[in-house]
Symmetry: D2
Subunit: 319 residues, 4 copies
């Protein structure tokens, strides 16, 4: 067992960037309906934060000809941890490059996962200090409640599509010590249809599910956290009234057991409003492996997911 | 406008009776999973109450060869109101018969709706007095919380199947002043697929939906009320763990906007655990008429209902 | 039993008007924190609506040197019901005067309750039609969810202070058939400390509690409805972050059993964000009378109310 | 920074034991009202589990002449971690003794914290396998929902009283790497009134607050987790109806921001039903230090705690 055996070198998901072909409408979605705040703008990019983010920002939206992930990132536990993970990448054929600091974030190391998604690692970050009018009543909060739309607190997890789920899962386990809480096996008993991974006791931060098109490096969804299942239900009513497309939910997932609501922001990226999912405290917890047959029985009470959920991603590509 | 124009002669749904081919398992469902109490037994019949019922009992379960409705009932506003409604029935070709008082209930008048469901009207009833150990902390409650399973508070509404929804709706409007809050029209623009009716400001007590089999006088479902949508979600987890078949939900209905969970009790009767639905205060409120086309668009965010929801009822009959 | 015996001539609380010494800050409270919309302005007055109001507006705020109630109103069941209630007022020494129609509302009859609060009765009203951008997904809703702050749906109830609670209660019972669901007796066993009244099955619309100062015609609070107790808790976090004074709650009331949060809007008027309270279906329900001693035992689990709750009202006067 | 710097050698709270002078009534409280299950009995002791516990049991109740803590425990990350922590204890003047395995648990090492509370460390434990009738629908759950009373999922945290909070906090930080999320300073700016500590990202597992009597080694409370704030509110109604003493809440804590309900089980031990509290993801998070003055301002909206909360503990001793 190495010193990062339980994901100790990665602390949590960090700052992320997404493309959108409809920047104004997408911004309105994130600001008015999710309740996020704009903290900076730079050319075609806008930096946003949720009220629970302790960093300056967590999401950059950039105008482009289509939706999709620009990059996502992990904050490491320390600068030494950052160096250790970069050393592993370079020693194992995944070398990337160091990036200069940008708005509120120190140096980052950028690299690709096996499916071609861009990731960054960083440690240095600037803490947000709420200005007058945004200060929270309780000083252990970072910022006042948004009081707008879904009032999302922070990013909860990210789901990427991968042509080879197993290979991507093993990449994060071997190189970064991510814990895998659940895996769905395909009918051959070897290939995997999904994997739920985390750097901590919370059930999911990074999910890979099967890419069923010719694409690669695609985004399935970003999930933003609200404080209760009741808040997910309230968000659903507000999204429906705002004319936002609701793809699935509100209902409960079998894997990790979170409560979900899937929408598409106007730029086409799938965005989830979520609450819950279990915490796993056992240090000797074993990954739960769903066989293809067992997964089909769909235990629990969650609604059936529509077929498009297993195909659509951004950028949108021909099947 | 007559003196019962807003349903004033009917006060609320009263005491009801259901058949079950699996009396022991059905009782276990109502007691352990819904949280109701047994108050009396008489031969093949068991009398049950929910903790919010002010009467002695609200549901009688009777062993039979198949599930279905034995009868349902309305309490009238007064004894005079009871007489007025009976006079209307007898003057309009719906004469029934007076029944002697039974356990906790005074005389009733029994008759049929146009589809052949048995109904009763009554006014005299005995108030429940909670014994030691069942007394509530707050004296305006009737009884202590069940503390079991779904903790249902009371019956919320009943849904019956009818070969001619419109004719049944008009029967209750003309004879009893029930208010109809919503109607779904069929494609011909005349026949109706559903009607939501109430004796009060709450959006539904008695619902008729289209009978799509050769049957008549069939039950679609009884709906029991819990205190929050969160309680419906909790109930879903408990029902799933108990191996109860969940047909649909938890999700939100478009008509009346309640939050639903449909199960089948072991005897086959469909039972809903529900919360919410709107109150309608406007005295000049007009029935909302859904055209067949508008209904198909399914506005709002509720999950799709499975096809069996539109066919299955008790007793179960060949299509 | 007269034809209005169960409050049948009064349909529901109508349009209301409040004074404020801080009109801009008060408007910001109602719009940004409660989530109401401005629909019109006229001199020193602003007309507001909540997203669930079927009328054009429900609250008028008018600049003045101090807070307090300008008037409140009831909508009647019909124009004939309006005439009947005016006839009763004029025959019983409570004559007032007819007012011309104003913004969105037809003629009203204005009069005083025994404590000197101004009330109006009216029937004609204009229905709100949501413009593009405010249209709800489900056509049985009037307007889209606010998506701001507490997202209040509509006014739930009003609490007035009265030097003689009993006399005011009897005025509404005798003249308008309001149902009284609960009364608190004072130690002498005759005078009353509080009375909870309604025109319908919902537990409270109009409350009188004891005036403990030299004032008269004063307002205790307006209560706005949200969809769940969880929404009340969320509102509390948003109010605290916005620096709004929270006087009491969130917690549960013993009388009527609603879940409450008491704040003061910047102009000093006490505003409650509320959910719940029971519905009373029994036609032969009897008013629950709390003796002074029984009331002191405070059954149930609600938090203790601070002393100022029993003294402060608007306008604020010397004790 | 050592390899356990973020609490890595301790995984989570483990199995615990409590005394009660009223064993039958206390058992009824834990089984009927909290919803826990009895898994074994041994002389005067009964072993209980909550439905979310992955171990065989988590609480032992033992008859005694008064309430109080017998012991509490931590599970370590590994057997090596157990050895490392014992080595630290023995090297730093806190030597205890090894205990033989007992029901479902391997060897433990027992020692005292500076205030004299008994703790145990262990790694080996037996996983619970649900028998027929207790199996959950979703295999990533351990056991079916209780469906009784408050349906508590697992122990959330424990609060002990200490004459010297600071010394006890430093003991756990120095020896075990517990993270301290919040501290309240006393008026002298040095002594501490409270400290909230955790072995993980969740805001509190072990709390010390000031002992204000002559006692030592006393228990303030055990807190059991439910799935939502709505479940805490439901529990309050059930406890009130069951005649259980409710000391405080439901309301929200300022420290860690959990939602609480404090009761006393019949044997006098204070038991909380709780939901929430923040997760802290930042690896460079600093302990939030409340000055005595700042703490007095009580930011946020939680209700005032009654004075007895700061004095009463078990065993109950003279002030």
């Amino acid at each position: 067992m190495t010193d990062y055996a339980r994901g100790y070198d990665l602390a949590h998901l960090g700052y992320h960037a997404m493309y959108t072909p409809t920047p104004d409408a997408t911004l309105a979605y994130f600001v008015d309906l999710l309740g996020m705040d704009i903290v900076a703008q730079d050319g075609d990019s806008t930096y946003l934060r949720a009220f629970g983010d302790y960093q300056l920002w967590s999401l950059k939206l950039t105008a482009s000809n289509q939706g999709g992930l620009e990059y996502m990132s992990w904050r490491t536990e320390s600068d030494a941890a950052l160096e250790r993970r970069v050393a592993w990448l370079e020693a194992n054929g995944h070398a990337g490059r160091w990036l200069d600091p940008e708005y509120g974030i120190g140096r980052s190391y950028e690299f690709l996962d096996p499916d071609g998604h861009t990731f960054r690692l960083y440690f240095d970050t600037e803490r947000y200090v709420a200005p007058e009018g945004k200060r929270p009543a309780i000083p252990t909060n970072v910022q006042a409640y948004a009081g707008r739309g879904a009032n999302v607190r922070r990013l909860d997890h990210v789901n990427l599509l991968a042509r080879d789920v197993r290979r991507n899962r093993e990449f994060w386990e071997d190189g970064f010590g991510l814990r895998t809480y659940e895996v769905i096996r395909q009918a051959d008993g070897v290939a995997e249809a999904g994997a739920w991974m985390s750097s901590s006791i919370q059930g999911h931060e990074l999910i890979y599910t099967q890419e069923n098109t010719s694409g690669s490096g695609r985004l399935h969804h970003f999930a933003y956290l609200v404080d209760s299942r009741e808040d997910v239900l309230l968000a659903a009513s507000m999204f429906a009234d705002a004319g936002i497309y609701i793809e699935a939910g509100p209902s409960a997932h079998t894997a990790i057991q979170g409560f979900y609501l899937y929408t598409r922001e106007p730029g086409g990226n799938r965005i989830e409003v979520a609450h819950g999912g279990y915490l796993e405290f056992a240090p000797d917890h074993e990954t739960y492996i769903w066989s293809a047959d067992e997964w089909k029985t769909k235990p629990g009470w969650g609604a059936r997911i529509p077929p498009e959920f297993h195909i659509y991603g951004t950028p949108d590509v021909a099947e």
